[in-house]
């Protein structure tokens, strides 16, 4: 069974539902304090959403120096799976586990709403249970989600198929498909080996049919089934 560590930084606020989503998908999960120096037996680490340290400076800029990040770096360096959701994605970029940066939304305010995203890479540990190019609708909620990177990096990401999620237009929607001005409509990316993944949308918030949709549930079944079958490891 897949065991997942969900890291809690001071100011994290999505750790409970992230943990619940893993358990609902059949995995086991535990909260790991930001002061921890070891991730225990976890095979997957999730950096959840929230406002680590208040994000008063720049999202994720302080969290990358939290003691637990050394263990996360080591886990990633050893080929272990690391997933960053929203603030977690921002931390992964600040920690240079993923390239590029997340700047203030183009519309200059926090935006919370559903977005339509296409799963462009389904060979990561958290997207394996989706069909390639499947479009799903899940929520975003962030003030700093505008993905930017220099042209060579963008070319590399596109060329190597490392754009995991991309914002797309669905007919009838009267909202801009790209909710924050991200370059190339990028919603999520991964590292060269596909083991470190970061994205802005929140699948854990829509992973239960009681809430009207479970479009995000398969991120978590993917984690559980990929590890059980050894895919992507």
């Amino acid at each position: 069974m897949a065991h997942v560590a969900v890291v809690r930084f001071p100011g994290s606020n999505c750790e409970t539902e992230t943990l619940a989503a893993v358990v609902r998908a059949g995995g086991t999960a535990e909260l790991v304090d930001y002061r921890a120096t070891s991730l225990g037996t976890a095979e997957v680490v999730i950096l959840p959403g929230g406002f680590s340290y208040g994000d008063y400076l720049r999202s994720g800029a302080i969290a990358r120096f939290a003691p637990v990040m050394a263990a996360v770096q080591a886990h990633a360096a050893g080929g272990g799976h690391v997933i960053g959701i929203c603030n977690g994605f921002q931390i992964l970029c600040e920690a240079q586990l993923l390239p590029g940066a997340l700047l203030q939304n183009a519309q200059r305010h926090f935006t919370s709403r559903p977005v339509d995203v296409r799963i462009e890479r389904n060979t990561t540990c958290c997207t394996a249970d989706y069909a390639r190019n499947e479009v799903i609708r899940i929520p975003i909620a962030h003030g700093e989600g505008r993905y930017v990177a220099d042209a060579p990096t963008l070319a590399l990401l596109e060329g190597e198929g490392r754009v995991v999620l991309r914002y797309v237009t669905v007919p009838g929607t009267d909202m801009p498909a790209n909710p924050n001005g991200s370059l190339n409509d990028i919603a999520g990316i991964c590292n060269a080996t596909g083991t470190v993944v970061g994205f802005m949308p929140h699948p854990e918030r829509l992973a239960d049919t009681t809430l009207g949709s479970d479009a995000g549930h398969r991120f978590f079944t993917s984690i559980v089934s990929s590890l059980a079958s050894g895919v992507g490891t």
């Binding site: 606020n13 409970t16 929230g50 406002f51 926090f110 003030g143 009838g172 918030r205 009681t210």
Partner: protein, 757 residues
């Protein structure tokens, strides 16, 4: 006996006046103390005897609210009200105003309003799970109003977003009376195990008092008295009295407080809100019938040299006062350290009933504690209805009616009626993964933990109706809230209220207050929804005049099975459209008159409480049987606006629906305009599978609720069509959506600078 703190000003007549203490009140202070107060004592009196803390003009009226019911766990008097839910759960909730700070510093004013109300809820031992708010501003064509509105929305958003509490609903409205005095009312909702409920009553002589959280600074000194006076041209100078919020510290304080409470480490806890350390310590002592002694030189401060006066009156945010048994100190410190917070002993519970402040070994205040909290002179000023209001109620528009096609488009373009998507998109609506319905519907719905049941919540106030007839308007506010709750299939359980009015010293305004409260009371009795607490905000007036009376009501409902929650908008082409309730075409006080004909006039509808209750019962019954596909109440703009909203769909819908509605068979004597735009309460537009129409009509008859069959939901991207005899009116559903969605963004795309009034 207390002595002045070295260096502090002597208490002169001018100093007393500056503290907003009138001659009678000063005499009461002299009698209570048997001597002149020290400056520190005067400051303490001025805070606790301010309108904001003492309710000196209103308490005798608030006492008439119904407060009992089998569902009530905690009524008024604590930090928040608490209602019972199934399976050992309970819901704590409260609404509070932050109007005056917002008027001078919208971002911090609104943001600390959210912070304060969240603390009121988590000090009960409840985890905050939702925020709602009611915002009122002057018209958006003025840059200053856009500045205040944009700043307040960002402030509300930034605070709640950072803490991780979703905003599940609210209302935003615009009228000229709010230009000089905007309103920000924030409501927080929390969930707890009933067994974990904790109070704010200092008990146990010898127990210690601790401050937990942020250090005390010089911000917000005299905030409570600022909130108890008119806004004037001088108010800008009050900006330093507006507190500054730090949601990150609040998040840590939230987690630490809940751990202290659910781990049973502490005896009592209270937020240091308005009047800071003064009100929290004095109120906790009075509730427990004990004395307290505080040593202000032990309170952690942000800067050296703060006087006891400043420490007692600071309204620095994100601070808690905790009462605990002395031997738990180390455990409490350990919990706080886990969350990177300080816990500092600053005093103790005593048996002499005195409220005593010591600084560097010197007693700077010693006041009989019970009298300090309860002894403020009370006022029951004269109340008389204003002549101008009577004239307005008798008036009618002096202009011709507008073509209904244009009138509906104009109503949908009215910011008060139009979609608030621009607003709630800036608030996190999905964090905690419990939100069942998106914002923009009848009421927010939240699943409780992983249970089957959920809670529905709404805030409402039609201040135009309250202005024109405060008694009927007051009833109407509760009726509208209950209708919104019941539309989702939830049963109304109880309310919290935020009573925003002008100066109580004006008879016409005091009349509004008394009558609106009487209306709220009568409606709450009829619906079985007791008042569990709330807040009074008076002196909402500026040189531009007083605000319209705005008694905002926050209501909580219980839905047994969240999977049966009824959506607010049409779901399927071919569904039958029903109008539940009766139509009289009442136009007095309507949005049509106000927004289309520019005439705030007429008597608002008399609220038929029995009909409202029957409609609520019916909605809950048919939701439980899953007979409805949607339900949407008629309020501002009447049937036409409600029908349009049902077709337009939710904020993120990818399609709109047409509809064909034939009014011919229900016409009987009501004018076209009355049918389309009248507002009479107790009515709802619903949709259902055509096969269920007869069943709904049969069930309606058992409760005395008429179910008029109006027509069918049309094609996606179709036409909204209303027929009456040989007349008909048509709109493109997509065009209506565009108008409705763009009304606020297009106004906010203009200049948003601070400007001047």
């Amino acid at each position: 006996m207390a002595e002045p703190f070295p260096g502090e000003r002597p208490v002169t007549e001018a100093v007393v006046r500056e503290h907003k203490i009138n001659a009678g009140e000063y005499v009461a202070i002299l009698e209570l103390l048997g001597r002149e107060p020290t400056l520190t004592e005067l400051g303490i009196f001025s805070a606790l005897w301010s309108e904001h803390c003492s309710y000196k003009h209103t308490k005798h009226i608030l006492r008439k609210f119904p407060v009992d019911g089998p569902q009530v766990v905690q009524g008024p008097g604590e930090n928040a009200g608490v209602l019972r839910l199934p399976d050992g759960w309970a819901v704590a909730f409260k609404i509070e105003s932050h109007n005056h700070p917002t008027a001078v510093e919208p971002y911090q004013g609104a943001s600390t309003g959210v912070g304060g109300i969240l603390r009121d809820v988590f000090t009960m031992g409840a985890r905050p799970v939702a925020v709602l708010n009611s915002l009122r501003f002057g018209p958006l064509d003025e840059p200053r109003n856009r500045f205040l509105f944009a700043g307040a929305v960002k402030g509300v958003g930034d605070y709640g977003n950072c803490i991780g509490v979703p905003t599940l609903g609210g209302e935003v409205s615009f009228a000229p009376c709010y230009s000089g005095n905007p309103l920000v009312n924030a409501m927080a909702v929390g969930i707890l195990r009933e067994a974990d409920l904790i109070g704010a009553s200092a008990e146990g002589v010898g127990n210690i008092l601790l401050t937990v959280g942020a250090k005390t600074g010089r911000d917000g000194i005299h905030g409570a008295s600022f909130a108890s006076e008119d806004l004037t041209a001088e108010s800008e100078k009050r900006r330093p009295q507006v507190q500054v919020g730090d949601p990150f510290t609040e998040k840590l304080l939230l987690e630490a407080s809940l751990e202290l409470i659910t781990g049973h480490y502490i005896v009592a806890i209270q937020d240091m809100g308005a009047a800071g350390l003064t009100s929290s310590s004095a109120e906790m002592a009075a509730r427990g019938g004990v004395g307290v002694e505080l040593d202000t030189s032990k309170v952690p401060t942000r800067e050296p040299g703060m006087t006891p006066y400043e420490i007692m009156l600071s309204e620095s945010q994100e601070r808690m006062l905790v009462v605990a048994e002395p031997h738990r100190l180390e455990e409490i410190r350990r919990v706080c350290q886990k969350w990177d917070l300080d816990a500092t002993p600053v005093g103790r519970v005593t048996d002499d009933g005195l409220f005593r402040i010591i600084h560097d070994g010197r007693t700077v205040a010693a006041i009989p504690g019970q009298e300090l909290v309860d002894g403020c002179p009370r006022y029951a000023p004269p109340a008389a209805e204003g002549v101008e209001v009577r004239a307005r109620r008798a008036a009618r528009p002096q202009v011709d009616d507008l073509d209904p096609v244009i009138a509906l488009e104009r109503l949908l373009d009215t910011p008060t009626i139009a979609s608030k998507r621009w607003v709630f998109e800036q608030y996190d609506g999905t964090v905690r993964a419990g939100s069942v319905a998106p914002p923009g519907g009848e009421a927010g719905i939240l699943r409780v933990a992983e249970c089957r049941f959920g809670i529905a919540m709404t805030v409402d106030c039609n201040s135009r109706h309250v202005l024109l007839d405060p008694y009927e308007g007051g009833k109407g506010v509760v009726a509208e809230a209950a209708r919104n709750i019941a539309c989702t299939g939830a049963r109304p359980l109880g309310i919290t209220d935020c009573l925003n009015f002008g100066s109580p010293e004006t008879p016409a305004i005091y009349f509004q207050f008394e009558e609106a409260c009487r209306g709220i009371s009568d409606a709450c009795r009829a619906f079985g929804t007791p008042v569990t607490g709330g807040n009074v905000s008076l002196y909402n007036q500026s040189p531009m005049g007083a605000i319209d009376p705005t008694p905002t009501v926050g209501m909580i409902g219980l839905i047994d099975d969240v999977t049966k929650a009824v959506p607010s908008h049409f779901q399927n082409s071919g569904d039958a459209i029903l109008m539940l309730g009766h139509r009289t075409g009442h136009l007095g006080g309507s949005a049509y008159w106000a927004e289309v004909l520019d005439t705030v006039a007429g008597a608002p509808p008399a609220v038929d409480l029995a009909a409202e209750k029957a409609l609520q019962d019916f909605l809950v019954m048919v939701a439980e049987r899953q007979l409805l596909h949607s339900a949407h109440d008629l309020s501002d703009g009447g049937l036409a606006v409600a029908l349009a909203e049902c077709c337009i769909g939710g904020p993120w819908a990818t399609t709109v629906f047409g509809a064909t509605v034939d009014l011919a068979r229900h016409a009987d004597g009501v004018s076209d305009i009355g049918w389309l735009f009248g507002e009479e309460g107790a009515s709802v537009i619903a949709s259902c599978a055509p096969v269920h129409v007869a069943e709904l009509q049969r069930l309606g008859a058992t409760l005395g609720v008429r179910c008029h069959y109006l027509g069918l939901v049309g094609e996606q991207e179709g036409t909204v069509e209303v027929l009456r005899d040989e007349r008909s009116w048509r709109w493109s559903a997509r065009k209506l959506r565009e108008i409705y969605m763009n009304a606020i963004p297009r106004r906010m795309s203009g200049d948003v600078t601070e400007g001047v009034n």
